[in-house]
Symmetry: D2
Subunit: 458 residues, 4 copies
């Protein structure tokens, strides 16, 4: 029964594990990915054991050296975990004992898989979320670059997908940069709660050995250590919070993708995709589809689902560790990979989209987007805004019925609707003027761009 021999806990059992149980409970195909964090954690733990004289210096050196070799073997795939290994931690420990004999069995002194696996996931997620924060920054810088490029491009701003008021295309690009800035802050806040060393919590109650957790935390770059062992081994808040932050990023990207898909449509025609970023149809020869944006939008599904997955897993679990927690890793890995790929491709695609400035500009006053200017004009001239709004509503109806634009009306024609319209009203009625006037902080005036750009061009 060679299978039994591998199990760390075989002593307690009278017989081997059922084949189906091994297959069902293994986490190796998933947690294999954590090996470098697992080894880093083990090395720090081992050096602490030596420092505290729980193992000897010599023992520690043998263990550390063997762990470093195993790291290389795993990198090169010259060592492979076996199905009976249960998980990556046990696979590495088995290999360690193969290499060092009984001394390898000392590594697990003063720790448990429960605190070990919590450590590994924290190390992984600290690294990956730092990387995602960098990717978010890069995308924001990219948006700031195209915003600067498009600082003079007018376009219609929409509410309810109806033309609302002229805005700068740069202002639109930077709206997404703002969202991503909040994402950065959210991930940064989330990392604070990730940045707590759980190792040393043992199975659930702490350990009887005179360990130095502060030392381990410092070695591994943790801000602090957990203070309640029962909480520490059953806490997956940091993973849920990360998944929630990732879902929000995904939501932002889905909105961005939706805008791009609309803009790339025949009907809007605001951007053109370079061929390298479009795909075709197996049957319709004319097709050039915005598949990248569609997939980014579609991947919102998995980002939301990963969050719901872990929340469901954790619902109603009694303290402390339960095997259900093994299900924590796949959603985390999947959200990391999904976000990273979406951010990378967006960053590559945004700068090479061909902006059709003339169409944007022409559209900026289509649909009576300057009506608010007229109302504001009246309001500035003492007409209560509510009345001004009503008057201009009637002007618009008049124009629609006759197929006229607002800009084509003379001051005299306008005066039929209100005596407060004066000759200078005509100079109010341009998209440029409309945009220029919105100078208050946050408004789309060109003068507000530098302040915004500075936020994203770090």
């Amino acid at each position: 029964m060679p299978r039994r021999a591998h199990k760390a806990w075989a002593g307690r059992m009278a017989g081997p594990t059922h084949r189906l149980v091994e297959a069902f409970t293994t986490s190796l195909p998933v947690d294999r990915r954590l090996y470098s964090y697992d080894i880093a954690g083990s090395i720090a733990h081992c050096e602490m054991l030596a420092k505290q004289r729980i193992v000897t210096r010599a023992e520690a050196q043998r263990i550390v050296k063997a762990l470093q070799e195993i790291h290389t073997e795993l990198e090169r795939s010259t060592f492979r975990a076996a199905p009976s290994d249960e998980d990556i931690h046990m696979a590495i420990e088995r290999r360690l004992i193969e290499k060092t004999g009984a001394v390898g069995g000392k590594l697990h002194t003063a720790r448990s898989r429960n605190d070990q696996v919590a450590l590994d996931l924290r190390l992984y997620l600290k690294a990956e979320s730092a990387r995602l924060i960098e990717q978010l920054k890069t995308l924001r810088r990219t948006l700031a670059d195209v915003a600067r490029r498009d600082r003079a491009v007018l376009m219609p701003g929409y509410t309810h997908l109806q033309p609302a008021q002229p805005v700068l295309l740069a202002h639109h690009w930077l709206a997404y940069a703002e969202m991503l800035l909040r994402d950065t802050e959210r991930l940064t806040d989330c990392r604070k709660r990730m940045d707590v060393l759980p190792l040393g919590s043992g199975a659930l109650a702490g350990t009887t050995f005179p360990i130095d957790r502060i030392y381990v935390a410092r070695r591994l770059g943790f801000r602090t250590v957990s203070v309640n062992s029962m909480d520490a081994v059953s806490d997956r808040d940091f993973a849920v919070e990360f998944l929630a932050a990732a879902a929000i990023v995904g939501m932002h990207l889905s909105r961005f993708a939706e805008d791009l898909i609309l803009w790339a449509s025949q009907e809007f025609g605001f951007i053109e995709l370079p061929d390298a970023f479009a795909t075709g149809s197996s049957i319709m020869p004319q097709k050039k589809n915005p598949d990248v944006a569609e997939l980014i939008r579609g991947k919102t599904g998995r980002l939301y689902a990963n969050l719901m997955n872990l929340l469901t897993v954790l619902k109603g679990l009694p303290l402390t560790y339960n095997r259900d927690l093994q299900e924590d890793k796949e959603p985390v890995f999947d959200s990391v990979d999904t976000l990273s790929a979406s951010l990378e491709i967006l960053t590559a695609m945004i700068p090479v989209l061909r902006v059709r400035r003339e169409r944007l500009c022409a559209a900026s006053t289509t649909g009576y987007t300057l009506a608010t200017e007229l109302a504001d004009y009246l309001s500035s001239n003492g007409v209560p805004f509510r009345d001004a709004h009503r008057i201009v509503g009637q002007v618009v109806r008049h124009c629609i019925a006759r197929g006229l634009t607002l800009e084509s009306l003379t001051a005299d024609q306008l005066r039929r609707f209100s005596p407060h319209f004066r000759p200078d009203v005509r100079t109010w009625l341009s998209a440029e003027a409309a945009v220029r006037r919105r100078r208050a902080i946050g408004g789309t005036a060109p003068g507000n761009l530098p302040r915004q750009l500075r936020r994203h061009r770090l």
Copy 2:
């Protein structure tokens, strides 16, 4: 630019696809799994094309033969799809053209990837849901078997996790069989809506070729054909409905697992896990944990999440096909795999659990579970049920205060609470009698077991 050459739609584009786009949009790692369904669909399509003289018999024979070879090559991994193939459909078509030359290019006549991929997923899911239905039946039969075995075992039934009334353990096992019976029906109903051929819908509008869809449907075993092409290429209801049914199965299994975990606890002690189905601890030598049940419970997360994933993907998509739909496959595959593994291992584990009959029996009257018998006794003797309930409530408080059981009270002692208690009341007060009396349909009386067993031992 060898990469371009592969793309079916390369004619339209001036340049090659960006490396990141290829990596981001490929579905090969996922849809590879559909190859046998894709080839089966292609063969049926090709034979129909020949029957309708859209291709010649000879052409069809060459194509079908090549497709069969490709099937073998994929089975044996002697042919591998390339990253630039986009998806399994294009990989197979590329290989077909490698093998047959230009004639292979005729296979895609009168179809599109849009109807093709919808076909493949339906074929896959029809097969897999039939398999899951069989697995559900097997588990129900297993539950019926252990119910028959345990037909005389008494146990406490719980509400609010508090002892409520004695029941038969068999009745408890069969409660889960009932849930799984509904699951079977739900999946069967869901299959009706899966069982509709989409092929022939083209990209979205149907096809200009004189195809015979009924013939293809018959060849592939579909009940009927879709009647609106725009709906057919964008419909993923069958997948969502399957994921919802799978989520409900998962919910049932999570409840079953919870009961098993409770029963295996030291405190309940109703069952003992065989060593082959238990796992140990890396640190605590005494541990024997119900990891299988915990993981089944934990996997509810992904079953719920897969449903939420696809619902999110589909939310707000305009007609007809959008690339977002490519995200339909992973949640479906994952729910199929998860359910199948959970059902398999439960079926293996249930019969080998050691039921601790003596503990169950002793527990069946602990916690004053016979109090309802007393109330029913009074009610049968003319006391309005509400009054009977109140009187027995006081009897129970009396017993708790003095550390007595209900069964230990004499008829005289009971009479102090109500004159309607007569000497025969003592014979009412046993778990056996309580169970035996619940003879109405659905009640836990032994006499009701045969009817229940028949439902699950097909």
Copy 3:
């Protein structure tokens, strides 16, 4: 302590319920809505008790008469439940005892709140889902009506929100009718599993009284009775399945709404909203927004959430009844109300949308939507489809570069791309012809309309 007197179970307790507990646990604000179903169930139960001589005829008559009065009182709000009543069942029972004295206390013989509340929710949902099925039918009929009206209107069909091929507007309307037809079937299937009487299951184990459940089922219009009492009191599958079906309807409506929002945009301009179905802006006088469609789309959130809510509640609950189940009603009520309102307003809005036929028609060939016709033409003339596709891709690139339409090319010009283009190719190149040719079942040909219309005009 007047509060205690109300509690059916006060006998067991030494003191009154904490004020916060009463407020926290009451379900009255929610389940009040079930009163008529609760009373109908109680009347049927009572008449069965009389038939079985568990109560006397005279007692039953007094109880039934009082229940009917209470129904009137609740309708007229002359009787109001008190916070201490816990739920609507206890409120009605309290009022019954106020009216009839001790005899009212006999009504609860042989039943429990656990089976009673399951009964009430099933009665409610059977009625409401039947109503929703009718609403779905009405909307399908409405779609069939506008499809018949628009049977000659051409429009561009889209994939990836890019123009794909011409289709009939009628075909598009009917694509949504198909989705709603599946919804009808799904709700109908779901009702089969709803249509099972749980009453008689008691608290969890059945009842000791000689009840006749078949009689009660017949009186209340149930198809059959539950056969396992433990399952019956803890089963909420019917509610989850309903919520899943409702979520899928919501998903369909969100897609429909998305199409309407796009069509109502300035850029698409395919429909115009009547003023009665549009809303304006508080600030922009020109605005006419498709708020109804936006809200329908937005309400997908709550339909999905209600499903997730109940799934989460049920995850990992041990058998049998647990108080968590009280949370089943709000999501069900909310999904019923939400769907009903959305279906009603869509049914009113669809027929009064002004379809801009000329714009739809003009758009139907914009964007080279006839390219597939050219490829099919070549393919029909012996060119393998893959080659045909590539050739036409080059034709399209040629046209785009020169700002030409496909229809403007002469046969000679086409022949420069392939010798298989012959003079008759020009007659292929119209939207009408393209649509007419798609005659295979499910295609957009006008000849396929009658078959589709028949499915929805019952």
Copy 4:
């Protein structure tokens, strides 16, 4: 047509709004709750308009006075919004104009409902999340109090719901306090992103009036102002992030509730509920159910669902404001109410639970929970931990087979398993010693309590 007269945007429309549209689109039943925040925002806005001379001081005074009166009217329900008012903002503006005439129409100068509603929800959520943070602190203090009370109570710690190692009950209480501490931090971080003034963003593009946003922010207590108007009117991150934080609190409470339900079970018997916090059964007289804990657990469903609701609403929305966003309020209100009620009742219930110390203490060594002590003993004496683990596993099997406890073994008997057991091993084998030894930070040693208590007793 009195209905039209109310609509701020009636000027644009030729006819009145359809009755169904009014009913479908109104948000009054929901957003009524925001009135005091709406009025506070309007007052600050109006005073800024006066300061900037956009309205006169006199006009502002009349408006502010009227707004204060309306506040009182709404508090006293002497003014009621009408269905045709659309939402609370328009209801208040209508009333304002009733009171002040045309001058009231000046209030809406330089703002839009889009920035106004974003402001109101932020003001509401800032206030409510501050209140929830206080409630969380109170519950943590309560937990710290009972932990101090129970500082000497031993109990079994569990993993996999199997007895694992002895811990202090205080340590268990404080594990939950740690979770709630993270919740506090998360809500505090979330409030930073809530604390940004959106007013002044106008409909989407900013405003043409010379407003002073910093002044308004200061008046309303905002940390800063938004810098991109398009983002500001469509951003609901702060609400989603709040809902995610609330879902995590709910998850914690569900775990806590699960523990309480288990502890209150007959089988565990660790706590007893006071009658004031228990509920009974309508049929089983002996019942005393932990309904409060069950409902807290059940309410996880709605907390998760509210998060999923808003995420779904936001998925794929193009910029900027869309009416879908109106669906943001109900989930937010519901999560606030749900959490607040759960925290309040837990805080009241925890201190009055009767802890059954003797049962906890007895249980603390049942199930061989001291096995790890033996393994650590051997490991401290030089046996590699892996070997120690195996040896003790055999000791446990030996004891189980003979029905012995570990504590009953003599040193001689132990020595048969390993020569490293020496006489002093017996002094290791007590729960007190086991707990006392776990002195490293985070361990369950009594000496670690003060540090933990200090974190929660602010």
